[in-house]
Amino acid sequence: MREWLTLLIHPTFLWVLIQTIAFSLYIRYTPAVNTAIDRVVLSARAAFHRAFLWVRRPWIAMQQVEEMTQLTTQLNEAFTTLQTATGPVSYPLAAWGDFSLLKTYRLLPAEALYKTFHLRANFALLNKGAKDSLYPGLAVVSPRGIIGIIADTTAHTSIMYALFHKDIHVTAILTSQQVFGLTSWKKPVLNRLQLEYIPLYVSVQPGDEVWTAPNSALFPSGLRIGRVTRVETDFTQGFHAIEIATFSDWQRNEPLFVLVPRHP
């Protein structure tokens, strides 16, 4: 006991202890250091998951082939409908509700190295980063609909906040009624969002589509988000309580595309 006490009050031990505390204090309260450490951790995590990605790659490829087959079937059906229709036709083609987007954005394919499923702030680690001209604020879509937004980048990787993140809200439009609302993820159920601020006088039906609104700060307008699955009317709130099922599936390994604006 006495020997331990002697060791504890030894000047060298005290010096190391004080230095550790001082440095921890400095790191704790300095954003630049926190960011640098986050980036090192992020790079290490990316390297780890990149190393294991090749193990999963055959399964991912098989899954993607299956999805491509489904997509081709859908396209064939849509094309047949288009040929036989007498009037204007709208059909759910992949993520785009509005094809004018394709002119102004470049689609950069990306792969999720890692995804979280159990958090209130879910994110994915993508294999594209600043060197691929990504930067925070870019929208990410799957072939079915929007999936997230780039929050941070390193040279070769990026963090994408999912739609299923407590702080991500998207200005959305209820296409059947052309009414604006805001998505949120209040109930922590994956692939389900809440559409808020839709007034009670608006008639909402399950099956109505929800797209990103023209005034969305995060996403370009006209991207598909999801379909209304449940409408509850809460007169105390003054708005509908709407639940939507997202077109993109966070639990599937879907191909991802980052929408990079084309600069003139």
Binding site: I18, L25, Y29, T30, A32
Partner: protein, 171 residues
């Protein structure tokens, strides 16, 4: 004669006041900052028990941390200075007698000896401080650390010459 406790306290107070009031006025923006508060760590008597000296060095660092952000950085850099000064002094004076710590005091140094003692240690402090403070190391940081070292040393030297150096100091 050794640096008295009163002198040490007065100098500590003066250095803190200097840092709070004069440093912002004297700083050459993006080029050099005078930080003579590091002088306190150099000045702490070697004759004091190590634990007491360490405690005082830490308390001074924490005081600086509280008043001047970022917290922790002053203590961290200052304690490196405190830890290195004895080794550096022994390197400069390899022929010191075995019990030199009991009788040695900074005010016995000549101007040249003080330069050899304080300038490199101040540079180490500034290099650590600027590198950690900016969390980056490149040419500009090195230049700022170097120029600030010279600027700081001028103030340290002034205080040393005006208030500390004994008239009968060696050499």
């Amino acid at each position: 004669m050794k640096v008295s406790n009163l002198t040490l306290s007065l100098i500590a107070g003066f250095l803190l006041l200097f840092q709070a009031s004069l440093t912002p006025l004297l700083a050459l923006p993006e080029l050099a900052w005078p930080m003579p508060y590091v002088f306190f760590w150099l000045l702490l008597p070697f004759s004091w028990p190590t634990r007491l000296s360490l405690l005082l060095a830490t308390a001074y660092g924490l005081l600086l941390d509280i008043v001047f952000p970022p917290p922790g950085l002053h203590t961290f850099c200052g304690l490196w200075l405190w830890a290195l000064r004895k080794t550096w002094l022994q390197t400069l004076h390899p022929n010191l007698p075995a019990e030199w710590q009991a009788s040695f005091s900074i005010d016995q140094l000549s101007s040249g000896e003080f330069l050899a003692y304080a300038l490199p240690l101040t540079f180490i402090h500034h290099l650590l401080y600027f590198t950690l403070g900016r969390w980056s190391l490149h040419g500009t940081i090195l230049l700022q650390a170097l120029l600030s070292t010279i600027y700081t040393f001028l103030w340290e030297w002034l205080i040393f010459e005006l208030f500390l150096r004994q008239k009968y100091a060696r050499r």
